[in-house]
Symmetry: C2
Subunit: 179 residues, 2 copies
DNA sequence: TCGTGTGAATCCTTTCACAGCC
DNA sequence: GGCTGTGAAAGGATTCACACGA
């Protein structure tokens, strides 16, 4: 498939596709284009999606529950290894064959199950304390869904999903449009 | 508060803060800084957060449920006006005082309640058909959480929350770091 | 012939530096 | 004296254009 066709499908210019890919290597064939399966493998390997990451979700409210059932995780090499909640009514239940543990077991379980990534699906007030515990337990990455800015050491990767950004974007463009 | 202090808090250079704000008007006082409450009001008004938006959530699975309970909506002027699901076991229940309606009532309710923004929290396969119905019903914006690329007319604002981007980002940086 | 990979040119954003107002 | 708003300089990113290999 050519960069032209790839670009059309995701609304990006062909030059952009070629430059971006060329930054990581020469994946195309001149006069032919890109071999799609090969390209997917290469991109997966660049992103580290060809290895296995063990993740834990902290906070099994509706959001945590939804994330635990997110099917795309597995296909990207993410393996749901543990679920934590502080609510005794939820602890002991199973989602997708994974039992919900008490947050008291956080540190021990992270070490035992070799968990590298923690997902924060807890209320805003709990986010920083839990993040601190995750970091102390030796995690390398945190995916934060709590609507607060949390702090972690430089050595820990932090990605925050801030839903208010999406809403503000929508609101702004609707206003521009005169709605 | 000075642009220096504002910048420190959100990890942005002071020049960036000043340039960005200046693009929309002169909100600061020379030698003094920015009046925080005033600034918040101005930014809110730029983003259109000072008016009221009526939103509807389609798909009341765990994700839809979590979104329906997201408290920050209200503070940004977003009013949850309707919930839709196709599952008869869920239709009729109430969340936050809003009753879950059948998707059959989609078009009528959107018109009746003057809904401008639709939130897609449905499975991937349902996203495009529902989006089409929302657009036909006269919505102006769609906030998509389904893990598919959907198409809407130019005149409709579309914001998609693609969770796989966050995960890939985390994975990539962890790899770079040699984890 | 076709389409990649890439220097060169263009465009846009960020940083610097400072005049001007509080 | 302090800090904004903003031209000018620097730095990046995108687009153009084409040599070269399949």
């Amino acid at each position: 498939m050519s960069s032209e066709e790839l670009g059309r499908r995701i609304d990006v210019t062909p030059e952009q596709i070629r430059k971006d890919l060329a930054g990581f290597g020469a994946f195309g064939k001149k006069g032919v284009g890109y071999h799609v399966t090969e390209l997917l493998n290469n991109i997966g390997s660049i992103l580290g999606l060809d290895r296995r990451w063990n993740i834990a979700i902290v906070g099994v409210g509706h959001l945590g529950w939804a994330l635990a059932n997110y099917r795309n995780f597995a296909s990207m090499g993410f393996h749901l290894s543990a679920l934590f909640d502080q609510n005794p009514a939820i602890v002991g239940q199973s989602i997708n064959g994974v039992e919900v543990l008490s947050v008291a077991d956080l540190e021990r379980t992270i070490a035992d199950r070799n968990i590298q990534i923690g997902v924060l699906a807890v209320p805003a007030g709990e986010a920083q304390p839990i993040a601190d515990r995750l970091v102390a337990a030796g995690l390398h990455g945190i995916w934060n869904f709590a609507p607060v800015r949390i702090k972690v050491p430089e050595s820990v990767q932090l990605v925050s999903e801030d839903l208010s950004v999406g809403l503000a974007t929508l609101s702004y463009h609707l206003c521009r449009q005169g709605r």
